[in-house]
């Protein structure tokens, strides 16, 4: 049998045909399909998955509200407890506190007192009812 050589043969065509006028309405078919796809876009609120996820998110947030509130409350309570503890439970007394003051604290206290005196005098002098106050 003679060896088959592709280049010696006349060109072999694939032999495929298309139906008559196939390409005439092909582009219309494609454009139709593209339009169909665009119309089929589903609004976000109609997607079950999104709705389910939103519902889940709302439930989780709702469940978190008491936790967040408790967290804040407990912080305030802590401060109150600390104050109560210091004033009632500890052995700290007035003298202990005074011993802790340094010169700057004392100066600050003096200033406050002076200011208070001035204010007091102002109030007393400007108050028209001062006589009655004194007499009482």
């Amino acid at each position: 049998m003679k060896a088959f050589k592709l280049e010696n043969e006349p060109k072999i065509k694939p032999g495929f045909k298309t139906p008559d006028h196939y390409f005439d309405d092909f582009s219309a078919k494609v454009l139709q399909q593209i339009n169909d796809k665009e119309v089929k876009v589903i609004p976000i609120y109609k997607r079950k998955k999104v709705v389910a996820m939103l519902a889940a998110a709302v439930v989780i947030i709702a469940l978190m509200i008491p936790i967040v509130n408790n967290y804040n409350n407990s912080k305030e309570l802590d401060e109150a407890t600390l104050e109560t503890y210091l004033s009632y439970e500890s052995n700290l007394n007035q003298y202990d506190l005074i011993r802790e003051l340094d010169t700057r604290d004392i100066e600050a206290i003096n200033k406050n007192v002076a200011l208070e005196e001035e204010t007091l005098e102002d109030i007393l002098s400007s108050n028209p009812n001062i006589e009655s106050l004194i007499s009482e």
């Binding site: 072999i12 495929f16 390409f23 494609v30 454009l31 593209i34 796809k37």
Partner: protein, 180 residues
């Protein structure tokens, strides 16, 4: 197509998009049809794949960066669509890809849209025995008469490697046809 950049801009502009896409369709529908038909072989499947190809081209146009030519980009989409279609069809029918293609070739004889004779059928049968890449290269070079440079852009393979692939393919086909 005169100025490709301009044409791509028209394809992306919503105002000119439809008209430009029409031009794209009329320019590429025939060559892409042949390209897909050579891979999937029967007309109805080619029709499906070609429609999907153009729909994808339309959808992905906004992502087209122009790194490659529009021509090779579209051929690449068509090739992927056709190959994916074949492997899905084979899976659906519980066949290997090769068995499916052999069956399709047998059916070609009764296909109204095929007017080949013995030698065409024999050539198709010989092509089925080739590895995937050689199949593609042979079809694109021999049937579609694309240039090596064009095939290289579409398949992302060097021209040298393509020439070697084509050479191997021709040799194998000649041996097959001679011995059958």
């Amino acid at each position: 197509m005169t100025n490709e950049k301009e044409f791509i801009a028209q394809l992306l502009n919503p105002k000119t998009q439809n008209a430009a896409f029409q031009i794209l369709l009329s320019e590429y529908q025939k060559p892409l049809y042949s390209h897909i038909r050579n891979i999937v072989l029967n007309h109805d499947d080619t029709d499906d794949v070609l429609q999907n190809t153009f729909v994808k081209v339309f959808q992905y146009l906004k992502n087209f960066k122009g790194e490659s030519k529009l021509f090779s980009w579209m051929y690449r989409i068509a090739t992927n669509e056709a190959l994916t279609f074949l492997s899905q069809k084979a899976k659906l029918n519980g066949l290997t890809s090769e068995a499916l293609q052999n069956k399709t070739i047998e059916n070609l004889k009764a296909d109204t849209y095929f007017d080949g004779d013995e030698i065409q059928i024999k050539l198709q049968k010989a092509i089925v025995t080739l590895p995937e890449k050689q199949k593609l290269v042979f079809k694109m070079k021999y049937f579609e008469e694309l240039k090596y440079e064009e095939i290289s852009e579409i398949l992302g393979t060097s021209v040298g490697a393509l020439k070697a692939s084509y050479h191997h393919a021709v040799k194998k086909i000649e041996i097959y046809v001679t011995s059958n």
